[in-house]
Symmetry: C2
Subunit: 219 residues, 2 copies
Amino acid sequence: MTDLSQTDRTRLRRTHERGAFDRATIDAILDVQPMCHVGYVMDGKPVVTPTFQWREGDHVYWHGSSASRGLRASKGAEVCLTVTILDGFVMARSGMHHSANFRSVMLFGQAFVVPDAQKEAKLSAFIDGLWPGRSAMLRPNSAQELKATTVLGMEIAEGSAKIRSGGPVDDDEDYALPIWAGVIPVRSLTDAPLPDPRNLPGVEMPDHIRSFRQDDQAR
Amino acid sequence: MTDLSQTDRTRLRRTHERGAFDRATIDAILDVQPMCHVGYVMDGKPVVTPTFQWREGDHVYWHGSSASRGLRASKGAEVCLTVTILDGFVMARSGMHHSANFRSVMLFGQAFVVPDAQKEAKLSAFIDGLWPGRSAMLRPNSAQELKATTVLGMEIAEGSAKIRSGGPVDDDEDYALPIWAGVIPVRSLTDAPLPDPRNLPGVEMPDHIRSFRQDDQAR
């Protein structure tokens, strides 16, 4: 696991956010928030698609329908995969210094197609990464389903994390103003699972469902 | 307020998600979730930047440092602005039918620079849209601060919303399997505001802070 080198497109120009290139910081963000936005170029124009990502070692993966124009346009192409966790609104004494607390990762690279022989293992790793042991409990994938699914991957090689935390940072003279400043924390919350009304009698909620928390904190 | 026409890049190819082109659906998603991801092309490659958006009538806006390479690359250029609200994980009886409940909007268009004379009003609208009345309570923007800030806008003219809700939809024969299926709902939650320790004595928390909820539901 090698930390990432700064490149022209990942070097931070401004200092009000903290950039990080170490894999521990980057991986922690990738591992806690599956939702990501993948950007690619289609007909010369940018497209940003929300999807789920998962990490295995030095790669991130995402998947979708083999018929998806976006996935097809991403194969072997340059993509940017961004994961963002919003942690709070930073309320300052001037509009200028309002900000957000957040953790984000931006990864750049070429997307590759995961070979057919590895597809099933990758998809199981995705499910089991969120819900340990679930893939083995499911009805197995059919050959047709696997064919209809494309898994893309990208090496974690170029990119960076950005983190802002803490309270507002105002201009020195503004601290004398009678203006309420502070932070409004936000986080994501998991509510009680809703069983499908068509679950068979006696089928109990598995531990991997009961204990799942999408809480934006370490799982 | 005109509903959006389908175009080649917004027409839905597959039917498992519900696409919408009506402005009421699109606006409701834009108005409830300020966080967005803006995609643009820099040196021929896609970049996806998390930022906040706000809507005024038929336009969405976002802003940042005038020194930002991303904002500079977006001026007058094609961008894709995507807002995504994750509502839940859909747990099916096969891996294939696992899904997510979500609401998203994808907008395409050319970003334009908001003229200097309108910049302050736009930034105030952004702040007051989230925290009604706040901009008037703040230390006014300086000319230098306004100059250091770029506000970009885009017409809501091409794009679509996508929504998935409800429980898993499994293959008919899979309902006979003793597998737990259902939905794990997730939502974002606002915690109690944290006052800045440097707030002056007697400065009370304004209503716009006390009543703020980033709850992904209608505000």
